[in-house]
């Protein structure tokens, strides 16, 4: 005879699980915290074209924020991109593709890169005809990526440029470059139509990008402007 099995206590019925809201696709690619205030929506809107007037640390900083968040980043037409500085800002080299010289087929290269990467930093070698621009923008909207253009791009949603900048740390034959305080202005269309201007440490002394105040900007050593002069007697 088998021993009678102990009666197991009935398990309490689990309350119905709360229905998790489905996560919407993030409408913007995140950027570094210091740059959030410059951009409408606090990031790079997917499907949008963002321009930076000149290639430099600002363009790399915009890409670095998205890359640090896990996005693949393609850099086309910028052979002199300072990857090391971008890594200091947060760029992940593992998720970076470089096409230094896209040549005359740069629009096709950018479209191909947009298929794979969420952010493409592009410096067109020549001014883009309207037809090419429209085709690229259509690709952009389909792929939900962001095209970061160095140079001019009519119809860009956001345009960024560095108005003025100044370095600290370098003296007359001594010191070394420490940090750069830059005034960055963003304008554009739609939400970004109102120009926004921010002071940024680009880069700060630790190599990152932080917000600055004009009042924070250190007054240089007053002795800097003085020069030793031969005096008579």
């Amino acid at each position: 005879m088998l021993p009678t099995l102990p009666v197991l206590p009935t398990l309490p019925v689990l309350p119905t699980l709360p229905v998790l809201p489905t996560l919407p696709t993030q409408p913007v690619l995140p950027v570094l915290p210091a740059l959030r205030e410059l951009l409408p929506g606090g990031g790079l809107a997917r499907g949008a074209v963002v321009t930076v007037a000149e290639f430099g640390l600002l363009a790399l900083a915009l890409a670095a924020g998205a890359s640090a968040d896990g996005a693949w980043c393609g850099i086309a037409g910028v052979p002199e991109a300072g990857v090391l500085a971008a890594v200091g800002l947060g760029l992940d080299v593992e998720r970076t593709l470089l096409v230094p010289d896209p040549g005359p087929a740069w629009a096709q290269v950018a479209a191909s890169l947009l298929d794979g990467c969420e952010l493409v930093l592009l410096r067109p070698p020549a001014r883009a005809p309207a037809q090419v621009r429209q085709r690229l923008e259509a690709t952009l909207r389909r792929g939900r990526g962001v095209l970061l253009v160095v140079g001019d791009w009519p119809g860009a949603q956001v345009r960024l440029r560095v108005l003025t900048r100044g370095w600290t740390g370098l003296g007359d034959g001594h010191g070394r470059l420490l940090a750069c305080c830059a005034q960055v202005m963003a304008d554009g269309r739609g939400e970004a139509a109102v120009p926004r201007t921010r002071w940024l440490w680009l880069p700060a002394e630790d190599g990152r990008v932080t917000a600055a105040e004009p009042a924070d900007v250190p007054v240089p050593d007053p002795g800097f402007a003085r020069h030793l002069q031969v005096v008579s007697g």
Partner: protein, 676 residues
């Protein structure tokens, strides 16, 4: 003795016996050539292959005829080491190998004295037995039971049944080649007075076995013409490639891509049935007019048929891109040869639009390996998603394999050294390891703009003289003006340096000495510049640069040792248009028309009128604004622009600027690179 040995033909190429990749590659070609005559070939050792001769000899009309054809086929390959190649035919591998080695020696007397060789080959069977031949070791072939081919080819055919006679004349030292034990045995036999294999074979097998053991017994059997091991032929390589021909040729890409999918499935089935996979796959498309596009795609057993069809599509697209890009671009921007070189979609023969459509599509698995599956690392491996890989490969199909790069951080002292670029799909390894300490790096923030090739510049002091650095690292004067090539001079408002760097002095090719500076110019830009070999180079910019980059190969990646023969000015880029005026006039006019006239900085009288600078292209994104036009920040006193303190010198005096490279002229402008 009762079992007859079968006929074996051996091809011996003494020039290919060396170990090495090149010899192995050539020998592989030889093997392929031999396979055309007999599919089952054994590669006995480097430079030696063997195969059964009976069947092919009957087909080709005789052993001598077959051997002659093989010699001719090998000669056609253009194998440089074919001199001395010989073919031997005998009963058994051992004898055939010996015959092949003796064949070139036998050919020489045959060609020198055809009259004496002809009777020997005409009546080999009636020739005198080997024991009767005088001086047998010196000329083993001519009088013996063997026959040289009539055309003085290095061929030695030992007739069937006469192998023992042939062997009997061979010295016992040939046993030494068999194995280490044979080496000892050969020495022992010769010391015992047994000079030839015939002497050894004449002994009783039992006596030899009891005296010399197993090695002796084997040697005795070999000497008697017995006991050669059977050939271990390798099966002929199977053709795993798949081909589809289009008749009529297909002008559209889509049907070709569709066929490629079916082809890829067939290829994968063929590979899978043998438990194989391929590392790469070669896609070859041949157009109707005979041009061919070949490209290797990385496979690693991961590509599906659809993915492979995608590659075919990209390859075909890439084949067509140059033509369409040349049409779309401005005529001067896209000359056909330039765009073809840039987009160079494949190896030789490609580059133009395939006229007349695709005639043949062929998928060839490359580097076939056993399929062992693919296992990713558990942690720490960035997985390149299919989406990204597809995008990257698509660009590679358009521009070439080297066009899509992935950066790798490594070691080094220069910013350009510390980032290496590896083509997408290749193993990412830095050139210099990052782990050792690298003293001498510039500390602080890394520059945002790193020129792939350093830009030339001129840095002058207040008086207009070039700033130099002495061997003891003393700056001649405070730098006051910076003129990057093709740019107007900029006022230097702050600077620091020199920071010397002397690298790899033990290697003359990689050695370099340089002094680095950080410069801040009046427009708010900061630069990383260096003096090397007496000239100024701008390596990087700290914020931005809107100009075009000029390329100076080697300037930033390890120049020569100063004073070395190789340490010379790099070549300028080819001139795009002639200079507007002769160099001397230009130089003189430079002082008068500062800012008004475009200056060709490359046009210096020292380099002759043929050397012109490339003017800045109109497509550059514009010059930076002068600092004065920018809105100043509220507290803008923090970077006052220094006004010139001297009274007399406010301009950029080009006339007093010394020629670059004049650093060795006097003590005042000794370069940093001068030995201290």
């Amino acid at each position: 003795m009762s079992v007859p040995e079968y006929r074996v033909m051996v091809l011996c190429c003494p020039g290919l016996t060396a170990s090495g990749r090149e010899a192995a590659r050539l020998f592989e070609q030889v093997l392929t050539a031999v396979t055309a005559f007999c599919p089952r070939v054994e590669a006995v050792e480097p430079g030696v292959c063997a195969f059964g001769a009976r069947g092919p000899a009957r087909y080709f009309g005789g052993e001598a005829e077959l051997a002659g054809r093989i010699i001719a086929a090998v000669a056609e390959l253009g194998v440089p080491a074919r001199a001395g190649a010989g073919v031997g035919v005998a009963d058994g591998l051992f004898a055939a190998h010996l015959a092949a080695r003796a064949a070139p020696a036998s050919a020489a007397p045959a060609s020198a004295a055809p009259a004496s060789a002809a009777p020997a080959s005409a009546a080999p069977a009636s020739a005198a037995p080997a024991s009767a031949a005088p001086a047998a070791p010196a000329a083993p072939a001519a009088p013996g039971a063997a026959s040289a081919a009539p055309a003085a080819r290095p061929v030695l055919v030992v007739p069937p049944g006469r192998t023992a006679e042939f062997l009997a004349r061979q010295p016992v030292s040939v046993l030494a080649d068999q194995d280490p034990a044979g080496q000892d045995l050969a020495g022992l036999l010769s010391r015992l007075g047994l000079r030839t294999l015939g002497d050894l074979a004449a002994l009783s097998a039992g006596d030899v076995a009891s005296r010399f053991g197993a090695a002796g017994e084997t040697a005795h059997r070999l000497a008697s013409g017995l006991g050669s091991r059977p050939l271990a032929v390798r099966p002929p390589a199977e053709d795993l490639s798949v081909t589809r021909e289009f008749d009529p040729p297909e002008p559209l890409a889509e049907p070709v891509v569709f066929a490629a999918k079916a082809l890829a499935e067939r290829m994968h089935e063929g590979l899978a049935a043998r438990g194989l996979t391929c590392v790469r796959v070669q896609v070859r498309a041949i157009s109707a007019d005979g041009r061919e596009s070949r490209r290797l795609w990385r496979h690693d057993g991961l590509l599906t048929a659809a993915a492979l069809a995608d590659r075919v599509r990209w390859q075909l697209d890439g084949w067509r891109v140059p033509a369409s890009a040349a049409e779309a671009g401005p005529p001067e921007a896209g000359p056909p040869e330039a765009s073809a070189a840039q987009a160079g979609p494949a190896e030789a023969g490609a580059g133009d639009d395939p006229d007349g459509g695709i005639a043949v599509l062929r998928l060839v698995p490359d580097q076939v390996v056993r399929a062992t599956g693919h296992q990713l690392a558990l942690w720490g491996e960035t997985v390149v998603s299919d989406r990204v890989a597809r995008a990257a490969m698509r660009v590679q199909a358009m521009l070439g394999h080297e066009a899509v790069l992935r950066p790798v951080l490594g070691g080094g002292r220069d910013v350009s050294e510390r980032v290496n670029h590896v083509p997408f799909g290749e193993k990412r390894e830095p050139r210099l390891p990052a782990s050792p300490p690298w003293p001498g790096r510039i500390m602080g923030a890394a520059p945002g703009v790193v020129y792939p090739f350093a830009r030339e510049a001129d840095v002058t002091d207040e008086a207009g003289a070039a700033v130099t650095v002495s061997g003891r690292c003393v700056v001649s004067a405070a730098p006051a003006w910076l003129a990057a090539d093709g740019e107007p001079p900029l006022r230097i408002t702050a600077w620091a340096g020199p920071w010397p760097l002397s690298e790899r002095w033990w290697d003359p090719a990689a050695a370099r000495r340089r002094a680095r500076f950080q410069l801040l110019t009046g427009d708010g830009r900061a630069w990383l510049a260096a003096v090397q070999d007496g000239r100024w180079l701008i390596e990087a910019g700290y914020l931005l640069w809107a100009g075009t980059t000029r390329r100076f190969p080697g300037a930033s990646c390890g120049g020569g040792w100063p004073g070395a023969p190789g340490a010379k000015r790099p070549r300028r880029s080819p001139p795009r248009r002639p200079p507007r005026s002769p160099p001397r006039t230009l130089r003189a006019g430079r002082r008068r028309h500062r800012g008004g006239q475009r200056r060709h900085r490359g046009c210096r009288s020292s380099r002759g009128p043929s050397c012109t600078a490339t003017p800045r292209s109109a497509s550059s994104t514009g010059r930076p604004r002068p600092a004065s036009s920018l809105p100043r920040p509220p507290g803008s006193a923090w970077r006052p622009s220094r006004s010139p303190t001297t009274t007399g010198c406010t301009g950029f005096r080009s006339s007093r600027r010394p020629r670059p490279g004049c650093a060795t002229k006097g003590p005042a402008c000794a370069p940093c690179s001068a030995p201290s």
